[in-house]
């Protein structure tokens, strides 16, 4: 019987793929500066991180790995200035994603897509202040980022975006999983790596 306890090897894998995810998020997240691109982030980040995440899932067979990855991401973004909602977003969605993925034993592609979608939803936490305390935040944005940025932001980031974000991320996650899945088949399996 395989032990359900996480081993050192699993934890090292968590670290490696968390590092990759953070780097991708950071590089793509630079687009954050331009509000028009906010919705695109929800497509782009899952799309690009789909490849490493699908690879990560081939190394995952125990509950906890995805959760730990999420928590580390959440804390990291908190320290980077995304406030506590980043932690809440990543922790909540991370645990749900891990539970869902476990139901598919981390090996069912359809469930992997759902799990990856939920995991990716964690990043809503990074923009969540917008809805949690929309008024003060918008006032704050207006003050510190200028009225124009705020209205710009409001135009592209209205409060129904919270719901819309989940849908947009789904599209991104679906594309990302498909791409990741394709790359696994095209490269990693043929190369004998997974």
């Amino acid at each position: 019987m395989e032990s359900k306890k996480l081993k050192a090897k699993d934890l090292i894998n968590v670290g490696i793929y968390t590092a990759i995810y953070i780097v991708i998020f950071f590089v793509v997240g630079m687009l954050n500066a331009i509000p028009v691109l906010y919705p695109f982030l929800y497509i782009l980040i899952p799309l690009i991180s789909g490849i490493p995440f699908m690879l990560f899932l081939t190394k995952t067979d125990k509950f906890g790995m995805v959760t730990i990855m999420s928590i580390i991401c959440g804390v990291f973004w908190f320290l980077m200035g995304y406030t506590w909602t980043a932690i809440v977003g990543y922790v909540v969605f991370g645990i749900i994603a891990d539970l869902v993925l476990r139901a598919g034993k981390y090996k069912s592609f359809k469930i992997d897509v759902i799990g990856f979608w939920l995991f990716s939803c964690g990043m809503i936490g990074c923009q969540a202040p917008m809805w949690v305390m929309a008024d003060t935040y918008m006032a704050g944005i207006e003050q510190s980022m200028g009225a124009q940025y705020a209205s710009e932001l409001a135009r592209y980031m209205p409060s129904w975006m919270g719901i819309a974000a989940i849908a947009i991320i789904f599209v991104g996650a679906l594309l990302g999983s498909l791409l990741g899945h394709k790359m696994l088949k095209k490269h990693f399996e043929r190369a004998g790596i997974v």
Binding site: K9, A19, I20, T83, A139, I141, G146
Partner: protein, 241 residues
């Protein structure tokens, strides 16, 4: 067998902050910048702290770049009413200025923390906070791996340039999405290989056997941590007033 003297960790000269102070201060500044937004003076003060820290840590170049841009943004913000720019330019400049003022202090602090703290100090701080190994191990790997990703990525960039795989070439226009694949796949291949070897090496050195490892890092609060604490308290009072 010959005996050698025990290792002496280098004496800390001058300014030193406990990693726990840095993390808590980061959390404090992040929260402060989130709730306080009508106070340009406070923005400036909050920016001066990490700037000073960077200078103390001799990251002069970083300090000059970030500090210069921040100062520029501040001047631009103060003189905003004095001139009229075309709409689109105005929007961009307002945007950029706001971003620099709001985010650069946090970036600077993040930069300082990453550069001034050794990984084992972070780990020691987490051990002191009784964070379980299940988090400490992956976090150590994240620190270890980010520079590795940079190195590997640079090597792949070189390889791509020598093969003429880049934006704008004829080959590129034939299959524009392939460039993402060429960039990411060799990187992932390396990462999988390095990761496997890293795990093997770590396991043969006993990783994962104990619930709580020991650590050789020396951390502890000093007079300097008190300064940061006082500064934080002052900022908090100012914000609440």
């Amino acid at each position: 067998m010959e005996k050698y003297e025990a290792y002496q960790p280098p004496k800390r000269k001058g300014f030193y902050l406990d990693p726990r102070t840095k993390i808590l201060f980061m959390a404090f500044v992040t929260t402060l910048m989130f709730f306080v937004y009508e106070n340009l003076a406070m923005d400036a003060v909050v920016a001066i702290i990490p700037l000073t820290l960077l200078l103390i840590n001799r990251q002069v170049r970083t300090a000059l770049i970030y500090g210069g841009l921040f100062a520029l943004a501040l001047v631009a913000k103060l003189t905003q009413g004095m001139y009229v720019l075309p709409d689109i330019l105005n929007m961009i400049s307002v945007l950029l200025i706001a971003m620099v003022i709001r985010l650069f202090p946090i970036f600077m602090l993040g930069y300082y923390i990453i550069e001034s703290t050794k990984t084992d100090e972070f780990v020691a701080a987490m051990e002191k906070w009784h964070i379980p190994e299940a988090f400490i191990i992956p976090i150590s790997v994240v620190f270890r791996f980010i520079p590795t990703l940079g190195e590997e990525s640079a090597a792949i960039t070189d390889a791509m340039r020598m093969r003429g795989i880049q934006f704008g070439t004829k080959k590129f226009w034939q299959a524009p999405t392939a460039i993402l694949e060429y960039r990411i796949i060799p990187l992932m291949m390396s990462v999988v290989k390095i990761g496997d070897e890293l795990s093997a090496a770590a396991l043969t050195r006993g990783l994962g056997g104990l619930k709580h490892r020991t650590t050789i890092a020396n951390i502890g609060f000093t007079f300097y941590d008190a300064i940061i604490a006082i500064l934080s308290a002052a900022l908090l009072i100012w914000a609440l007033l």
